[in-house]
């Protein structure tokens, strides 16, 4: 089979699996699980074969024009290069892991067939985005991901939080997608084609007329999809979805689409220094803000969500300094360990019966209940905090190295200020990352108090997947950093002494600060018992149910969806007065509510008032006048024949008189 046909099969298989799953879901329940796992797994294998055959060779392009479509043609195009095949490999790996994990996690869910089908459809859309060589086709996958994300976040639509989160995720990403669409059109109008190769050659030849406008429009879509400030607010709320969904969509794939798009179209962005500056500022604000917010969250998954936003900020920063190799490198390693973190968090939530760090910190022996999760999560958190020699260290160092390179003014098109911004923000975020990663681990696994409830052994598919993902978490960075430049055709990505030592030291500072704060408030924590655990969670209960219940009850137990009023939280000590604001994402939601939601609601109530009071009055008047007339005429309908006859004859007399007089 040719390379092109193989690559075309990679997105097609999960798509067919999704269609078959949706069709057969009710009629043949036995086929649902094979249809969910096998196409995704096959497509992972095929992606690996494609990656192996593509290798470090020149990019493969194939296009087929189905039909002429106006002045700017749309092609079904494939574009395979190092970025595409490696990211497709990551997507395939994470999707397969998530499907296997979901087998156990949602084993009794009545909506499992549609869930699995939508996950497959989502995977297909992401693979399409990765492989396609045409912006219009990319847009199709981009939007399919948006709608799948809506369905998956709202999986527990019985709960208020999930409904609100799914609508929020959809609306916020759409808010970015509208300018994105306009940007794509403007780009195609300037370049005369939707083909990415054509656009890139136009951009490098300086053929774009409005590079800044186009880049900023595209950035809006990227900010929405990749959860960058100021459109990041949907991601923490999207944690109301099931954990595997968080792992798949909100850690490794969908949010990566924005980064991937900028990486593919980087020449368009480097054509405009202003766009790079905006991207850098966006990344810096996102990184630091999300690090602070992550330190204050109580929900374990919200911590991970904010850390995702922060790591995406690193990638955006790498792109801002014009180094897409570093961005994609970090994307790959982050995808692996963040998926692992989410899946492990799912195991922990199942075991602890709660998603609250406060409750877990008062629970003894949680680590012994779920040793696999504890070990793998510890590794992944270390990778997140960029502890050498885990993969996160190498990828993050590549980003910092690129930023430092740009700060020296050695990168073409990139202003030194952009480099400095990214470098400083990246180093500050390294401290925060170390702190919140340590806080998460300490609170989760080193709690003291009553024994954690025994839910029995965790299902094998769930734990096995954790170890599978632990392999790239540990080894990918160290093994790959020397060979990736061949795949990407760029500069070396290895760590340099300055940034390496500096970054690691700062991460350790953060971790030590968290540890000492944790020790300092240990007595307080022991003195203030807090926490509610999902009660009747025995071993047979489906893990997803435990999580759904934990999400549904979190607010009423702790008073807030994001934070718990816990004086024994080290994050509270570290953040000081900032804690309250950070726990609520710096009140950005409230600001958006005041700025956008409330005016819109006021406008709708005005419209409603106009409709009810003004328009309806006319309508009622139009109905009331005939009604009154009818009532008057109805009075004449007495049913008395003599009355009718009297009126008839009186009329006849009147007519006769008129005729006689007039005639």
């Amino acid at each position: 089979m040719t390379l092109t046909a193989l690559a075309a099969l990679v997105p097609a298989l999960p798509f067919l699996g999704a269609a078959a799953g949706l069709l057969l879901g009710r009629r043949a329940p036995g086929f649902v699980r094979p249809l969910a796992v096998l196409p995704t797994a096959t497509s992972f294998v095929l992606a690996a074969i494609v990656a192996a055959r593509q290798g470090t060779g020149p990019a493969t392009d194939a296009a087929h024009r189905l039909t002429p479509t106006g002045s700017v043609p749309i092609d079904i195009a494939l574009h395979l290069d190092g970025f595409a095949v490696l990211i497709a490999l990551l997507v395939g790996l994470v999707a397969t892991c998530v499907q296997v994990y979901s087998l156990s996690y949602l084993r009794d869910d009545p909506r499992y067939p549609s869930y699995a089908a939508v996950v497959s459809l989502f995977t297909a859309a992401m693979l399409l985005v990765v492989y396609t060589g045409d912006l219009m086709v990319l847009l199709v996958g981009w939007e399919v991901m948006g709608i799948c994300s809506y369905f998956l976040v709202g999986h527990y639509w019985e709960t208020e939080a999930a409904r609100a989160a799914s609508i929020k995720a959809f609306l916020v990403t759409k808010l970015g997608d509208v300018p994105f669409l306009i940007g794509v059109f403007a780009l195609a109008a300037d370049a005369g084609t939707f083909r990415i190769t054509g656009i890139l050659s136009t951009a490098s030849a300086g053929g774009l007329h409005h590079p800044t406008v186009i880049a900023l429009l595209l950035l809006a879509g990227v900010a929405g999809k990749s959860a960058q400030f100021p459109l990041h607010t949907w991601l923490p709320d999207a944690m109301a979805g099931p954990t595997p969904v968080s792992a798949l969509i909100h850690a490794a794939t969908m949010v990566a689409a924005g980064i991937y798009l900028v990486a593919r179209l980087l020449p368009v962005f480097t054509a405009s220094a202003a766009a790079l500056a905006v991207l850098a500022a966006m990344a810096a604000v996102t990184m630091i803000g999300s690090g602070l917010a992550a330190l204050a969250q109580d929900d374990i998954k919200r911590v991970l969500a904010y850390s995702t936003i922060g790591q995406l900020g690193y990638m955006a920063g790498a792109l801002a300094v014009g180094n897409r190799d570093a961005a994609v490198f970090h994307l790959l390693s982050h995808g692996a360990f963040k998926a692992l973190l989410f899946l492990a968090a799912g195991v922990v939530i199942h075991a602890a019966g709660t998603n609250s760090l406060t409750a877990m910190s008062r629970m003894g022996n949680l680590a012994k209940r779920v040793p696999d999760a504890a070990w793998t999560m510890g590794l992944a958190l270390a990778a997140l905090a960029a502890v050498p020699p885990l993969s996160g260290f190498f990828s993050k160092e590549s980003v910092l190295r690129a930023a430092e390179h740009a700060a020296q003014g050695d990168t073409a098109h990139v202003p030194a200020a952009v480099g400095w911004t990214v470098l400083v923000a990246g180093l500050a975020t390294a401290v925060l990352t170390g702190a919140y990663a340590s806080r998460l681990f300490l609170l989760t696994f080193l709690g003291s108090g009553p024994e954690a409830p025994d839910h029995g052994k965790q299902p094998v598919p769930m734990t096995a997947v954790l170890w599978v993902l632990a392999i790239p978490t540990v080894a990918f960075g160290g093994l790959a950093y020397r060979r990736l430049p061949d795949w990407f055709g760029g500069a070396p990505l290895g760590p340099t002494l300055t940034t390496g030592v500096l970054g690691t030291a700062l991460a350790l500072v953060g971790a030590l600060a968290a540890y000492s704060a944790w020790r300092a408030v240990g007595t307080t924590r022991a003195a203030v018992p807090l926490g509610a655990v999902v009660e009747n969670a025995d071993a047979d209960v489906e893990p997803a149910l435990v999580e759904a219940e934990a999400i549904a009850t979190h607010k009423e137990v702790y008073g807030d969806i994001a934070a718990a009023d816990d004086p024994g939280d080290p994050g509270r000590l570290l953040l000081g007065p900032l804690h309250g604001a950070a726990a609520h994402g710096f009140r950005l939601d409230a600001a958006y509510g005041a700025l956008f939601v409330r005016p819109v609601l006021a406008a709708t109530s005005l419209v409603r008032f106009l409709d009810r009071e003004v328009v309806e009055t006319w309508v009622k008047g139009a109905a009331g006048a005939p009604n009154l007339l009818g009532a008057a005429v109805r009075k004449a309908q007495t049913g008395n024949v003599q009355t009718y006859l009297g009126a008839l004859l009186a009329g006849a007399v009147v007519l006769a008189v008129l005729v006689a007089v007039g005639g």
Binding site: A631, Q637, T638, G639, N640, Q642, L645, L649
Partner: protein, 126 residues
């Protein structure tokens, strides 16, 4: 003879019949008033037949037909009145208001049992 005498007599008789049709409550009295109106027409027919004097005697022939039809009408009308009386226990014209607008409450009607009893009595009287 001046034609105006029979003509005016017919007009006045017709108006009296008209008043009776519109004002009387009992259906049989209404029928009597209808007879008066028919007779007014007959007077006209005869008088104008005399005035025109055509060879076919149209007016008098038509008068005969009118009288015949009036007889048939009174027979059918009385049968209908009897039927109404049997079904509703009354032959009052202004109480037959079933076709009134139902926006206001309908006038009370006799129970079916009462109707049957009325029938028995009517039959016995007959």
């Amino acid at each position: 003879m001046h034609l105006i005498y029979p003509a005016v007599l017919a007009v006045l008789l017709f108006s009296i019949g008209l008043y009776g049709v519109l004002a009387r409550r009992n259906a049989i009295l209404v029928l009597m008033s209808v007879e008066l109106m028919l007779n007014a027409v007959n007077i006209n027919l005869v008088a104008f037949d005399r005035w025109l004097g055509d060879g076919l005697h149209t007016g008098q022939a038509l008068t005969l037909f009118t009288i015949t039809i009036a007889a048939a009408e009174i027979g059918l009308g009385l049968a209908i009145v009897l039927l109404v009386y049997r079904n509703r226990g009354s032959s009052d014209v202004d109480r037959l208001t079933d076709l009134a607008d139902p926006g206001r409450p309908l006038p009370e009607q006799r129970a079916p049992g009462g109707t049957a009893a009325g029938d028995e009595k009517a039959e016995a009287t007959a």
